[in-house]
Symmetry: C2
Subunit: 395 residues, 2 copies
């Protein structure tokens, strides 16, 4: 949505190369004629673009490959699954994970380890992460891929300059992670909810949605017409601090009655009489406490079922405000919420439908397709996206 670039011949050519790549990303494979019809250029124009993309190793011709016959007009084209790839890394409160995703969006290598990162200094966390990134980079190269960049997902506020402004559940404040990374790749640091939404965007039919993401805290990403809404400082999507009951319990942010005080993991644990610190010790790792809550509710523990319902109600109130403001096509529950959906959804949906300014409006409430994997996959997809948006020139 920024000011359009001036229309020089070179800018136009780069834009058209990108249009071809995006057409293939959406459709999987297309003939030259279909690409031309889809993006509104002539067959001849598309053929020249295709030649350049083949030379750059960004696309391939499918079918029985006949060497030396590139450019056969009828053959199907696809993004190259032996070309550039994105490396994604997620720093969780209780885990670290890294993956490689090829241009077609397929996860080609993945590693995850439990890690007690709460209150741990950035240096040792990043030292451990560097090792994992190195492993995945080697694996990706072995599979014929060439890493084009690294995306790093963080559970906290990330500024427009990519500094981690505040990651309360890690205890980090004002940290620039980039000097702590040993990779030579270009790095993009962002909030995990934003990356999660990118993964959802790749798989879902929605182009306008609010992607709610819960690990320990509650965040959200707002997607408008297929683009992340970042905000003036990069802090958009702080759903966890939308006031639900303005005179409610004090929140670490300085406010009162924020959504996180009703629907955050710790609030739900406290509501059923479990000390969050003890739960973290006894049920460590990503999703440990969430699995505990799901098991108890499945086993008929009414207190847990009630607490999850109350969390759903609070989410519904906060989301009613968000939907009235943003008018999205859908609300998508990601992260831990995806697993708790059976208990959270009914009261969430009731609040939402009672509180929409136009009762005729429809907003779908769904569970994220990539689920808890979203932020990790999205951090690699961001790199893939940047290759498709600004294709590197042929060597």
């Amino acid at each position: 949505m920024s000011a359009p670039a001036p229309g020089t011949q070179q800018a136009m050519r780069r834009r058209n190369l990108s249009l071809v790549l995006h057409a293939l990303a959406e459709e999987g494979s297309l003939s030259r004629a279909s690409v031309a019809a889809r993006i509104g250029l002539t067959r001849a124009g598309v053929s020249a673009l295709v030649e350049e993309l083949l030379r750059a190793g960004l696309i391939v011709e499918l079918g029985r490959g006949r060497p030396g016959t590139v450019g056969r007009p009828g053959s199907a084209l696809a993004l190259n699954d032996q070309g550039p790839c994105g490396i994604g890394a997620e720093i969780g409160v209780d885990h670290l994970s890294v993956c490689a995703v090829d241009l077609r969006g397929t996860v080609r290598a993945r590693i995850a380890v439990d890690a007690a990162n709460r209150g741990r200094a950035p240096e040792p966390v990043l030292a451990e992460l560097n090792g994992l990134i190195q492993q995945i980079t080697v694996e990706a190269r072995r599979a014929g891929l060439e890493p084009a960049g690294l995306g790093v997902a963080v559970p906290g506020l990330v500024g427009r300059d990519q500094t981690v402004v505040r990651a309360p559940n890690l205890g980090w404040q004002g940290v620039d992670l980039r000097p702590l990374l040993t990779t030579a790749l270009p790095v993009t640091v962002d909030n995990e909810a934003n990356f999660g939404a990118l993964a959802e965007l790749r798989e879902a039919e929605w182009r306008d949605f609010v992607h709610v993401s819960a690990e320990i805290g509650i965040g959200a990403a707002v997607v408008v017409d297929g683009e992340l809404l970042r905000g003036a400082h990069g802090f958009a999507g702080e759903l966890g601090h939308v006031p639900v009951r303005p005179d409610g319990p004090a929140c670490a942010c300085g406010g009162r009655g924020c959504l996180e005080q009703y629907a955050g993991e710790e609030a739900v644990l406290r509501a059923v009489g479990i000390a969050p610190e003890r739960a973290a010790r006894e049920h460590p790792g990503p999703g440990g406490r969430i699995a505990l809550l799901a098991r108890r509710s499945e086993a008929g523990d009414d207190a847990v079922t009630r607490a999850l319902g109350d969390a759903g109600e609070a989410l519904g109130i906060a989301l009613a405000g968000a939907v009235n403001l943003l008018d999205p096509q859908a609300v998508v529950l990601g992260g831990a919420l995806a697993e708790l959906a059976p208990w959270v959804l009914p009261r969430l949906e009731r609040e939402l439908s009672d509180r929409l300014a136009d009762p005729a409006r429809t907003v779908r409430v769904t569970v994220s397709r990539p689920g808890a994997e979203g932020p990790l996959r999205g951090s690699a997809l961001r790199i893939v996206q940047s290759v498709l948006d600004e294709p590197p020139a042929a060597a």
Copy 2:
């Protein structure tokens, strides 16, 4: 934010013509060399574009005009104030107004009449409006302008298909105004808050803001990177129905404790013991009740001052949610709120600063520059904008 148009030569030329017009709209006047530097094209390229725009009557050369010498490289260029213009119309609950705005953004003709439109059928309202539009069209032509389109501002939800889905304070529901308009101009119908934000955008330094607008109801427009966020159905910005106290009074929308129940004009009147219907009779016309409240508070009426403070608190709670979600640069108070700012602002600002997820973040709270004139001026500016975005070809 939609998919980029394919880069054909023709599309590129039209985009470049638009870039020249927008550069002049922002700067007032520029030499050819300054235009070239600003938009990143060559001097020769810009000269050709300028010739076309001069021929189309969209721009003029300033300075002592020497007939037959168009194209002198050093002379300053500006948008033509004798060229196309936008006609804007506002349907208020208690007034109708129409204006003409030239390409430079100057209001060149304006008419406004009191009108008791609450509960009045669309047909007689539009019949009256048609007469006013006709008058302003004649005046604009007399001033050497050529109307290029008509924008119509409505206090209610307007769908993406431009139907008035619901304008509760007029009592309209599912009305297509276009068949009721007698003008031959292309028509754009939109919510008054959206048009108000356009007027603000033209005058303010912000590109990311929430523009709160209050006449009888409370609406808002969300502007992201200089563009209106419209929402999947066109209903974005329904700030008036953001829950402030989820168990609060029932609202006409079906929800409870919506912002409008605390900060809408009728809620404030009731809080100080004035029956809204009686106030409407005794203080009719646009701003009648608002002026009454301002006068009473100025005269030391504590109950009124308290009620306006309470409205400010409710606005602050709802806006805290909006700011946490959207991270705008600024919150702009428009419409009636602009006039009540001295009593509304202090508690609004306190709530907002107490409830932001990142205390280090700054959000400016300001009063709209065009104020109550915003929706009317914005409805004409929308037409001007469309001329700048897609300049008509030279005859």
